[in-house]
Amino acid sequence: MNIIVAGLSHKTASIEIRERLSFSSHNLTTPLQEIVNLPSLYEAIILSTCNRVEIVCTVDDNEKAIREITIFLADFHKLSLNEITSHLYFYTGQDAIRHVFRVASSLDSMIVGEPQILGQLKDAYRSAVANKTTGSILNRFLHKAFSVAKRVRTETNIASNAVSISFAAVELARKIFDNLEDKKILLIGAGEMAELVTRHLVSHTVKELFITNRTFEHALPLAQEFGGKILKFDELFDNFAQMDIIISSTDAHDIIITYEKIGKALHARKNKPMFLIDIAVPRNIDPRINDLPNVYLYNIDDLDGIVEKNRQVREREAKQAENIVEEEQIRFYVWLQQQEVTPTIITLKEKFESIRLKEIEKTLSHWEGLREEDKEKINALTHAIVNKILHDPINFLKTKGEKNRFPIEEIKRIFNLND
């Protein structure tokens, strides 16, 4: 039994191709059933995300299975083989194990260390289990992949640092306020980055969001999308002291939020901390306010600097993570080999035993006048011959087969055990 991975990812295919080859994660039943019905496949899992489409399966004959899967993918998505073959990759043996472990640990992700992929893999596995397309090998394999991912996460810093500006902003907010649930956010102005930061903060369930814009109409769609309240721009400072987090992103060419305003607000809120994010260029918030106690001001460069540093940390940590993956990959591969040895020995014995019984039957049925005693002796003799013959091959399998796949394949081929 082999594990193979067939698929495509952001590394081999553009978004257009990925879209056309993707499976709807809500309805994997049909494709899963069709896949396990392919003649060479036993177990299968389909992982389909926006960055990758992968089929993890157990097969006997790699070459055949790869052909069948390629044809299946093309047929299922109504594409021609030529359109897809150049985008597909196939991993077999240790490479397949390594690949799945790397994917689960987010080492193969577009942004290394982003944890979503593990959840997606778990969902994919759950669908496969629900559709009964996994067996003992893939069950064990996927659980191992999850535990490798966990090991990577706990033993390295790969996922502990935010690598996007909006995540870095959220993480900072949480390191200041801990819990954002009772916090009020004020968004001044608009802009892609400001919206992104706001979206991430809102998804951490802040209490209230206020939006203000010099042009009232610009605030409207944002307020609707995030469920925020609109403040009139000239009333901006009326409730200023209530705000815990302020994101500023206007195209004003002067400073809107001055040192004095924050000083006053701070006094009114009894020094409760304030977190200000200045995304605007030129800046909207007086940089001196970072000197005030309990006020934390970050501008776009500060956040960029953090993100850049975190990326470097992740790259460094990824090397350590690769070592963990390699170690686990080898361990799992050895286990997989052991799974092969025992069944091979059993089939080998069964084959010889059935030959022996057939020949005994053939001979004895024509042999007349033979005493029961003699029949026993012939029986024992043939039994001994078979055992003697099998002794060395079985020994060979037991000692070599656990470390190396090759003898198993050879023995199977020599004795024609596959059918």
């Binding site: 810093n157 200041i176 801990d178």
Partner: protein
């Protein structure tokens, strides 16, 4: 000298003392590794080791309580020993309840230092205090005062963590520490909680001490250095608590006050005994 069973046990106590100290050292090392390594395993390991150390610590204390003529806080060795016990005990309860294991990276080194200082003053013969001082006020006064100081010790550790964390966020440094240390809010809450528990204990400790003084020496307040410095300590924490409750002192200022406050606590506890003579000096118990 005749070998009595008691002496035999004293020998065992001596070994258990060093065993406790060793366990605390191992716990401290694990807590320090936890501070810089991403694995959370170390914090759990360190915490369990600390609990085991605490159990041995408790056994020695109970043994002393049962075999000594009075509550075993009559010399500096015993006092440091008892204070370390209160400190670690409060930390263990606190961590079980509030789950801030990284606090251990600050508490255990400090507790270990206390215990090492205690070890350098190890005496086989406990100081006998004169009969007038032997009363139930001894355990009440010392326990209340030490519990209060243990809470204030936690506030001190929390204050240090706050200053480190605040410095990182303010100056836009993003290191492993930023992830390891709790949020500013958590640390500020910790400060307030420890203060609001420690201060009443400290107050009660001073009050019971003064009642005891009335019984023993015939006056509530003698202005001996220990009493004077206790008052200074009390005033510092009273000011901080007042500032917190009324004018919004918090964060860095509260952290700073907690650190200064605990420094004064330590001076009151150790400095006064070692540097300034007075009624509380342990030597004075034996002097005529």
């Amino acid at each position: 000298m005749q070998i009595t069973p008691l002496l035999y046990f004293k020998q065992i106590e001596f070994y258990v003392f060093y065993l406790t100290l060793t366990i605390y050292c191992i716990g401290t090392i694990n807590f320090l590794i936890y501070l810089i390594k991403p694995r959370t395993l170390f914090s759990r390991l360190a915490f369990y080791i600390t609990i085991i150390g605490f159990l041995f610590h408790s056994i020695i204390f109970i043994f002393r309580y049962l075999t000594y003529a009075c509550f075993p806080v009559t010399d500096l060795h015993q006092s440091l020993f008892f204070f370390a016990w209160c400190f670690v005990g409060i930390f263990i309860i606190f961590n079980i309840k509030h789950k801030i294991p990284v606090l251990g990276s600050f508490v255990t080194p400090l507790a270990t230092v206390f215990l090492i200082s205690s070890a350098t003053l190890f005496t086989q013969k406990p100081v006998q205090i004169p009969p007038p001082l032997q009363s139930m006020w001894l355990p009440i006064h010392t326990t209340l005062a030490f519990l209060g100081e243990a809470f204030l010790g936690l506030a001190f550790c929390g204050g240090l963590m706050y200053l480190i964390q605040e410095n990182q966020i303010k100056n836009k440094k993003w290191s492993q520490f930023l992830h390891r240390l709790p949020s500013l809010q958590t640390l500020d809450d910790l400060n307030y909680l420890c203060l609001s528990l420690g201060f009443p204990f400290l107050t009660l400790g001073i009050i019971t001490g003064s009642i005891w003084a009335e019984y023993a020496w015939g006056s509530y307040w003698n202005w001996d250095p220990k009493e004077t410095w206790s008052l200074v300590t009390w005033l510092i924490y009273a000011a901080l608590l007042h500032g917190r409750l009324t004018i919004g002192w918090r964060g860095k200022r509260a952290a700073f006050f907690s650190i200064i406050g605990f420094a004064v606590v330590l001076f009151t506890f150790l400095g006064v005994n070692l540097l300034l003579p007075g009624l509380h000096s342990y030597d004075s118990f034996t002097s005529p």
